[in-house]
Symmetry: C2
Subunit: 406 residues, 2 copies
């Protein structure tokens, strides 16, 4: 293969980040009246819903802080604005975000009035990393304390994350999902990177083992989204057969990122195989792109949106393939990165109003042009653009000078 | 316009019902081992999920009983089988369906073990009409008692239908949905028809007033799915702007059916106008068919499946337009019936494996070919085929000889 010209990749992703994506959010998201951010936007940035979901607010706090903290953006004049915007969200969440137990509400009104109870532990996961990254950026001790307390609540709640809102009957054997171990790796890795502690490393080690030993399906060559709590897979129900290719791939780069730091070639090797399997499984050979949801046996899926092509799935896959290639040198992963880039850059960016389209039909038409909503927010797109720019910035990125186990 | 040849319509719908739809369910659904019905099927009838949702079991009990009770099917030799199959479901629900309060669980395992708690009042709504219609068919007093008890629980619970599983915060003003008043009219109308009582008539009258006075939006000429509890509409949030054309149209035939019985020409007139408005609003002028979900202001919808074409939306609209035409004589409604028929019969029936496809993409391709699932079941399709056959069976149907207020 040709030598990789990382300089070009770095410039392209950094330019998209700083010229087409971040300005959309700094312009439309801040609520200078009540604090926090609006996050539901029409194609042109018009606000279409004024309520504020805590997990989405927290993601934006993380992202603005992460931009501020990035080693490749230290000369950007916008850094002060990013820090101020991170503070706008952090102050709002400090004031209104938590209930009396310290758990984060799911949704508030724009003024900060609680609308939906704290039933969802992912609000807390993103709050933990949001406040920690902001504490690093600002030096704010209160944010650091909130991050640590929230992290502890997550570990205490993680075996029964829905608490009293859990509708499954006691004594049944509900399935156990990929989301929480996957998220716990990412959250703990952010903590470990900013404030190293063996406690985080042990949690990460255990969760990696859960995913690689229990969720990776060696028969069907894909990562399962749900497993039986006592072990094995369930093929009798929709949920048991459910595959979320983007989630599987995202979890693999979370794990590879840890393994790279630890120089753990065995884990990298296992991720490498699983990544190739998941890409193969998830790719739509007829229309291109990665499916949103699949059924491990090819049965009809529960969700009508199963065949759609989503922005985040492709962005997480770009991160994973580039990271995997840099760690292994396997040209098959480079080929996947190129193939994913071609699909992604052709279909998702909005050249007219900025930012990217989130939701495409199976054959690649824009089905829904909102730029922000209840799921799309200031997170996957800027994170991927930033990380790929960082990974391509030779000298700044340890993975580039790291082990190639092949 | 040409005189309508009802005989042809009657024969076509009855034939489809008895030859292409009912046999699929009598063959694949019964679980003679544990009782009740399987209801999740691949295109060819293969079972793809073995769990049993109570609202879906109850719908099938109602449907088998309703077939048995239909005045146009009294000579069918399959009537004994239908009654036996209704009993198979009723016995299963009697034994396993309810918790200690008499509320119906949301989902059981195939053996009858509770899996998901009774958080959803629609399980009870369908159980009430299922047991009542079965009581009428079988004369079973226990089923009659369960129906009455369940009806009473619904009226007691309806102001807080989700009970302890409600995640909205106290003191907030959540929106109030169309589903429950709409369902309450239908349920109460089944009770009123089988066992007349002023109590039912009063509940029906109140719920009709809620829908026609509060959900009909005269500015945007459509029925809203959610309204503000204290009155008016909310255009600030996704839920506030949410339009479900099929739901609106279905609620109109529920109301017209009552108004026809009561010979209430004022209510019929209001439904007539609202029906034409909803059809106009919901029709996809580009690709044909009625949209699944819309936004009243044309903003991006929360649900990715918003632009899909669903079997039940078209079937409910066929019932509503034919009923509306028969009650008003307005040829515009006949034209809609013909237009809907053309789209529906071209796209949904599966000539190879029987039954109908449920889910099409916007441009009319089959996106998901399951014949039964967590939503599609033995209900909308056979009910619509039966009702249209009944409505077209001159002499058997009072609406045909009824008032034409125009």
């Amino acid at each position: 293969m040709q030598p990789i010209i990382y300089q070009g990749i770095m410039e392209r992703y950094k330019k998209e980040l700083l010229e087409n994506v971040v300005p959309f959010w700094t312009k439309h998201a801040p609520d200078f009246e009540y604090g926090g951010y609006f996050h539901c936007f029409d194609r042109d940035g018009t606000i279409i819903d004024t309520n504020k979901s805590m997990w989405i607010e927290a993601r934006a706090i993380w992202m603005f802080s992460r931009l501020f903290n990035s080693s490749i953006l230290t000369n950007q004049p916008e850094r002060t604005e990013w820090l101020n915007l991170a503070k706008l969200g952090a102050d709002f969440l400090k004031k209104y975000g938590r209930d009396e137990n310290g758990d984060f509400y799911f949704r508030l009104s724009k003024e900060g009035k609680p609308l939906v109870a704290p039933y969802n532990i992912f609000s807390d996961c993103f709050a933990a990393i949001g406040f920690l990254e902001y504490a690093k950026a600002s030096g704010d001790q209160e944010s650091f304390d909130i991050a640590k307390q929230t992290y502890q609540r997550i570990q205490n709640r993680k075996n029964q994350p829905k608490g009293k809102w859990d509708k499954t009957m006691p004594g049944t054997q509900p399935l156990f999902g990929l989301s929480l171990p996957m998220m716990n790796i990412n959250v703990s890795d952010v903590f470990q990177t900013i404030e190293p502690n063996p406690v985080y490393e042990e949690i990460i080690r255990a969760e990696i083992s859960v995913i690689l030993d229990r969720f990776v399906d060696r028969k069907y060559h894909v990562i399962r989204e749900n497993i039986v709590q006592t072990g094995g897979f369930c093929n009798e129900t929709y949920e048991g057969r459910h595959i979320n290719p983007g989630h599987g791939i995202e979890s693999l780069w979370f794990i590879m990122s840890v393994a790279s730091r630890r120089k753990d070639s065995n884990i990298i090797k296992r991720c490498h195989e699983a990544l190739l399997d998941n890409l193969e499984f998830g790719w739509d050979t007829e229309c291109g792109g990665l499916f949103y949801f699949m059924d491990v046996l090819g049965k009809p899926h529960l969700e009508l949106s199963w065949d759609m092509k989503l922005w985040w799935v492709h962005l997480e896959s770009l991160i994973a393939t580039l990271m995997g290639f840099q760690l292994t040198g396997d040209s098959k992963l480079w080929d996947w990165f190129v193939k994913l880039e071609e699909y992604t850059w052709k279909h998702f960016p909005d050249s007219q109003y900025g930012e990217w389209f989130p939701y495409l039909t199976r054959d690649g038409k824009v089905n829904n042009n909102q730029k922000g909503g209840r799921w799309k927010c200031f997170f996957h797109l800027p994170r991927a653009l930033l990380m790929i720019a960082e990974m391509s910035s030779v000298g700044n990125n340890p993975t580039l000078t790291n082990l190639h186990y092949l």
